[in-house]
């Protein structure tokens, strides 16, 4: 009799503990990332280029962030650079069209030429690659001022920089 009673108590305690595990799950404050943009930004700025493209398709908020928050692209452009570029670089880049444009027009084509796929092996950029990207960016800017094409390679004139966006045919 006594044995049966203890077992019953034991089972009740076990059930109580199981429901309290459930309650633990429910007690967790519901976290919604779209209400915590700072946290969302922390994740976005650590994504690689193609993943940012994917992220911009998630919803309107993410699309707006990836389109309008240039600091996300700034992180992306110089992520693998050993020493960050000097502070004097930023106003120039912003004046020439911003970091997103720098990435799309110069960094991305250079990176994809260095590797087979868009998802480049993570390696440290040399100072020269940074300089190259920035120089190309300046050239792109002047071309636009002179009435050149947009970011699509096919639009541009033969002498344009946009040949960089074409795959290599060796």
């Amino acid at each position: 009799m006594v044995h049966h009673h203890h077992y019953h108590e034991y089972m009740q305690q076990k059930m109580r503990r199981n429901t309290s595990n459930q309650q633990q799950q429910n007690k967790r404050h519901k976290f919604f990332i779209n209400d915590n943009i700072d946290i969302l930004r922390e994740i976005l700025k650590r994504l690689d280029g193609p993943s940012l493209g994917v992220a911009s398709c998630v919803c309107r908020l993410w699309c707006n962030l990836t389109n309008n928050d240039d600091s996300i692209w700034e992180h992306l452009c110089f992520r693998h650079v050993l020493t960050p570029p000097p502070a004097t670089v930023r106003p120039v880049v912003v004046a020439l069209g911003g970091y997103k444009r720098l990435y799309m027009v110069c960094v991305r084509p250079v990176l994809s030429r260095l590797s087979e796929s868009e998802r480049v092996m993570k390696r440290v950029w040399t100072r020269h690659e940074v300089q190259l990207s920035l120089s190309l960016f300046c050239i792109d800017s002047y071309e636009r001022l002179a009435g050149g094409g947009g970011m699509i390679a096919s639009d541009a004139s033969p002498s344009s920089l946009m040949f960089l966006c074409n795959p290599i045919n060796v």
């Binding site: 309290s20 309650q23 633990q24 007690k27 967790r28 404050h29 976290f31 919604f32 990332i33 779209n34 946290i39 922390e42 994740i43 976005l44 650590r46 994504l47 690689d48 280029g49 193609p50 993943s51 940012l52 493209g53 994917v54 992220a55 911009s56 398709c57 998630v58 919803c59 309107r60 993410w62 699309c63 991305r108 796929s117 868009e118 998802r119």
Partner: protein, 160 residues
């Protein structure tokens, strides 16, 4: 008298109580790395069990493990890789949110990068589901966006 007792923090331990009522001990120097905890200690004193309403017994031990390594200066890339190796994407998210709540900067940054790495080459649907975000684009808007970003979608596991 009380002042004397708390003057040396190097070997003092702090008691933390999780949202589900379990108590864990950490070194005072580790507590310093979690700004939320340190603030509570400053307000409540270091002899009281510090309540952490939004951190639970599932994740706190892992966080304590990280900061135990941190105070001995032993956090290496290998340690960090090992730390997240057996965690699934949801478990990492829980840890990440706890690190945010605790204002534990080093762990938060590490886990942000880990989550970003895990999201690489995942589909849009996977990312939406992971964060519980709803698609508020019209089908036309979405397909236009995807077309513009076609270069992003090479190599994505679409059905994941």
């Amino acid at each position: 008298m009380a002042q004397e007792a708390s003057s040396s923090t190097s070997s003092k331990t702090i008691s933390l109580k999780t949202g589900d009522g379990e108590i864990f001990e950490i070194e005072a120097s580790a507590a310093k790395q979690m700004k939320t905890v340190q603030r509570l200690i400053d307000d409540l004193g270091d002899d009281i069990t510090i309540p952490l309403h939004n951190v639970f017994s599932k994740e706190l031990p892992k966080i304590i493990e990280y900061y135990k390594k941190d105070i001995t200066g032993e956090i290496t890339k290998d340690f960090e890789a090992e730390f997240v190796k057996d965690l699934n994407d949801d478990e990492v998210k829980v840890l990440f949110l706890a690190a945010n709540y605790l204002d534990a900067n080093k762990l938060f940054e590490f886990l942000s990068q880990n989550i970003a790495d895990r999201l690489e080459s995942k589909s849009v649907e996977y990312v939406r589901k992971y964060f519980g975000v709803e698609n508020d684009f019209t089908p036309e808007e979405e397909s236009k966006l995807r077309e513009e970003r076609a270069w992003s979608f090479r190599g994505i596991k679409e059905d994941e």
